[in-house]
Point group: C3
Chain length 143, copies 3
């Protein structure tokens, strides 16, 4: 328990962990592509997903990596317009990290596109999108 507190207390004190912006891009190679899945109802996982995405972007350089965060199942609620996560999600979207909601999950819980945060994109079935991204060569992670 002490260890668990130490991590989360430190994370809270620092806000979302950040790294200095990476060096300028030297090479026009195709960006590396990473899809991050969130499907839990767990604010700690949501915080990890958002900070993870920003860290990867900052570590490799914004032009070197293409990122998507896909929310489905209980994690859909992070993306509601009324969510306490509005500012953090908007910040991520403003950094050109694509944030995607599963419309199948939304239908299950009675959410419409208008109920969701501005800037969020939509796919019909989150997991089908994840599969297709992987088959296109994207890396996959679940924080």
């Amino acid at each position: 328990m002490m260890l668990r507190r130490s991590f989360f207390a430190a994370a809270a004190a620092l806000g979302i962990a950040q790294l200095p912006a990476a060096a300028a891009v030297q090479n026009a190679a195709r960006p590396q592509r990473l899809l991050i899945q969130i499907s839990d109802y767990d604010p700690r996982v949501w915080a990890l997903a958002l900070s993870n995405a920003r860290n990867v972007r900052n570590d490799l350089g914004p032009d070197k990596v293409q990122l998507e965060i896909v929310a489905y199942g209980p994690a859909i609620h992070m993306l509601e317009a009324e969510s306490d996560w509005r500012d953090r999600v908007t910040q991520v979207i403003d950094e050109s990290i694509r944030v995607i909601a599963c419309e199948n999950t939304m239908a299950t819980v009675g959410l419409k596109r208008d109920d969701m945060l501005g800037g969020v994109d939509f796919v019909k079935t989150g997991l089908a999108h994840i599969m297709q991204r992987e088959l296109e060569g994207w890396a996959y992670a679940r924080p």
Copy 2:
């Protein structure tokens, strides 16, 4: 907490989420392949895995996608013959979604093949199977 309840209450009210069957297959291309891992002892994850698999199958069309659900670790219990999940697992197997149990986990907890639900397949080590599927080009997800 309200959000969490709203998701699970809605999911319970609707049963496992379903989409209408997809349009007829137009193209004989090789099916897309997805392996879904379950390794938690968490009935919500089990429900997500089963509904996810069915949604992907229905969204893309049964002939367009090949699906496996691999259970190991604490999730092995979902596949016991006496499991409350019998009907839901059998329904998934009847839809040609392959459901696989890790025999290494079974040995750890004293389960034999006869103790498991009919229709379940077996692999020696769940994670070795997962690795090999990925190296064969299957997409991977953990709900």
Copy 3:
């Protein structure tokens, strides 16, 4: 609850599950490569990760598979020098399974390299490493 106990009680009674060493390597093909991510603060997940890695290695044969375990986020604490997990982690490292800590997470919680278990390797950002391994053709799993 009974089922959950039965798994963990059995696992505890047996220690980390083991298989007999696999048959001698017959073929010098490139090893299969698997990265295992741990990012939860959950000792059950840590135990699964370590036993999973050893099972895959033993099942396929030590020369047939290359394994990495990458810890970031709350899982970083498993790799502290003072961790109760010292013996189990050291055993895994001694079996040529590479164990890697995320320095970005370490900075967040105030840990330095000297605070970590001997034999642990380091990467700047755990998730960037995971992405790059996948893009290099490694399989990925999260227990």
